[in-house]
C-alpha cells in the first residue's frame, strides 16, 4: 500500500495501518478482497514478498446490478512490463464473473496516461470524459455536520 502511495507521491495520506487492514479484510464481514502476485521461487528457495496486488470489493449499479470496484492495482517498479498487472486484472475479472458481476469500475487520475492506456487497451471507457460523471466526496467536518453532530 505504501508503494502505491509513494508512486503517487501521496504517502502522507495513508492513515490506516496493518491492524485496520487485517480487521477490515479478514474479519467475518470483509470490506475488501485482495489478490497478490508472487514470483515462483527457484528450487530450494523460499518465496519472496509479493511483487504486486489487486485490491477490490463488490458493489452495486442501480441499473445493471452486481459490479466489482477495482480500488488498487499495483506492481513494484522492477517487475513491470512482464504482464503481471494484466494477469492480476484477469484474475479479478474471473472472480467478478464468478460472483455474477456485470461490470468493473475503477479510477484513473488525470495525467496517468500509462494507466489510462493500459485500461483502455483492455476495453475500458472513461465515463468522466465520455458521459460526464464526476466523483464527489462528503467527508470530515461536512460529514459530521450533516449527521447532526454538535461540533
Amino acid at each position: 500500500m505504501y508503494g502505491i502511495a509513494e508512486h503517487h507521491q501521496l504517502r502522507h495520506q495513508v492513515t490506516i495501518g496493518a491492524q485496520d487492514l487485517q480487521a477490515d479484510g479478514f474479519g467475518p464481514n470483509p470490506f475488501y478482497h485482495c489478490l497478490l502476485a508472487e514470483l515462483l521461487p527457484r528450487p530450494g528457495e523460499l518465496p519472496g514478498p509479493p511483487v504486486g496486488y489487486a485490491l477490490f470489493f463488490f458493489g452495486y449499479s442501480v441499473n445493471h446490478g452486481r459490479l466489482v470496484y477495482l480500488e488498487n492495482l499495483y506492481v513494484e517498479a522492477p517487475y513491470r512490463g512482464r504482464g503481471i498487472g494484466k494477469t492480476l486484472l484477469s484474475e479479478v475479472a474471473k472472480v467478478s464473473l464468478a460472483h455474477g458481476c456485470v461490470e468493473m469500475k475503477l479510477m484513473v487520475m488525470e495525467g496517468n496516461h500509462r494507466a489510462a492506456a493500459f485500461y483502455q487497451g483492455l476495453g475500458a471507457c472513461d465515463t468522466t470524459a465520455d458521459e460526464g460523471w464526476h466523483c464527489v466526496e462528503l467527508g470530515g467536518l461536512a460529514l459530521h455536520r450533516l449527521a447532526g453532530e454538535e461540533l
Partner: protein
C-alpha cells in the same frame, strides 16, 4: 406530526424500489438501461450476501401517491474501501419523487446516511453526479461536498462484461 418517515428498506419494498429506480432512470434519460428486476433486487439486497443497502422515505396515508404508493423516495448505498484511509460509504443512488420534493425528505435521507457513515466509522461518503445535473451539484456543494473529478482529476473508468469475459478467458 412528521409528514414523512425514513427507515431501512425491507424485502417487501423491492417493487417500490424498482418503481423508483425506473423513475430516476427516466429523469436521467437512461430508462432503457435498467435491466434489474424485482427478483434481482430481492436476491442482491436481502439474500445471504447483500450487495447493497437501502433507506426509503414513507409518507402517511393522506398524502399517498394517486396510485396509492406510500414509498416516495429512496437511497441505495454500500460500503467501499480505500486502502489508505479505510471504510467509505458509497451512495449509489438517491431519489425523491418530484411531487414530494421541497419537504426536506432529501436532506433527512442525507442526514440519516451520514449517521450510518459515522456510526460505521466511514471517513466519508462518495458518490457520482452527472456534470450536467446542476441542481444535484448545488445540493451537495451547499453541504460541503467536493468534486474530486474537477478538483483532483479523478476519472471514473468502466469495463463492461464482454471485456471482463475476454480478460478472464485469454491466455
Amino acid at each position: 406530526m412528521a409528514s414523512f418517515h425514513i427507515r431501512a428498506a425491507r424485502a417487501e419494498d423491492c417493487s417500490d424500489l424498482l418503481r423508483l429506480i425506473k423513475e430516476l432512470a427516466k429523469y436521467e434519460d437512461m430508462e432503457d438501461q435498467v435491466i434489474l428486476t424485482e427478483k434481482d433486487l430481492l436476491e442482491d439486497g436481502f439474500g445471504e450476501h447483500p450487495f447493497y443497502h437501502c433507506l426509503v422515505a414513507e409518507v402517511p396515508k393522506e398524502v399517498w401517491t394517486p396510485e396509492e404508493h406510500c414509498v416516495v423516495g429512496f437511497a441505495m448505498y454500500y460500503f467501499t474501501y480505500d486502502p489508505w484511509i479505510g471504510k467509505l460509504l458509497y451512495l449509489e443512488d438517491f431519489y425523491v419523487m418530484s411531487d414530494y420534493r421541497g419537504l426536506g425528505i432529501g436532506s433527512e435521507i442525507l442526514k440519516k446516511l451520514s449517521q450510518v457513515a459515522v456510526k460505521s466509522r466511514c471517513s466519508s461518503m462518495h458518490f457520482l453526479v452527472a456534470e450536467w445535473n446542476e441542481p444535484s451539484i448545488r445540493f451537495y456543494k451547499r453541504r460541503g461536498a467536493s468534486d474530486l473529478s474537477t478538483e483532483e482529476g479523478w476519472r471514473l473508468f468502466r469495463i463492461d462484461k464482454e471485456y471482463l469475459l475476454k480478460m478472464a478467458t485469454e491466455e
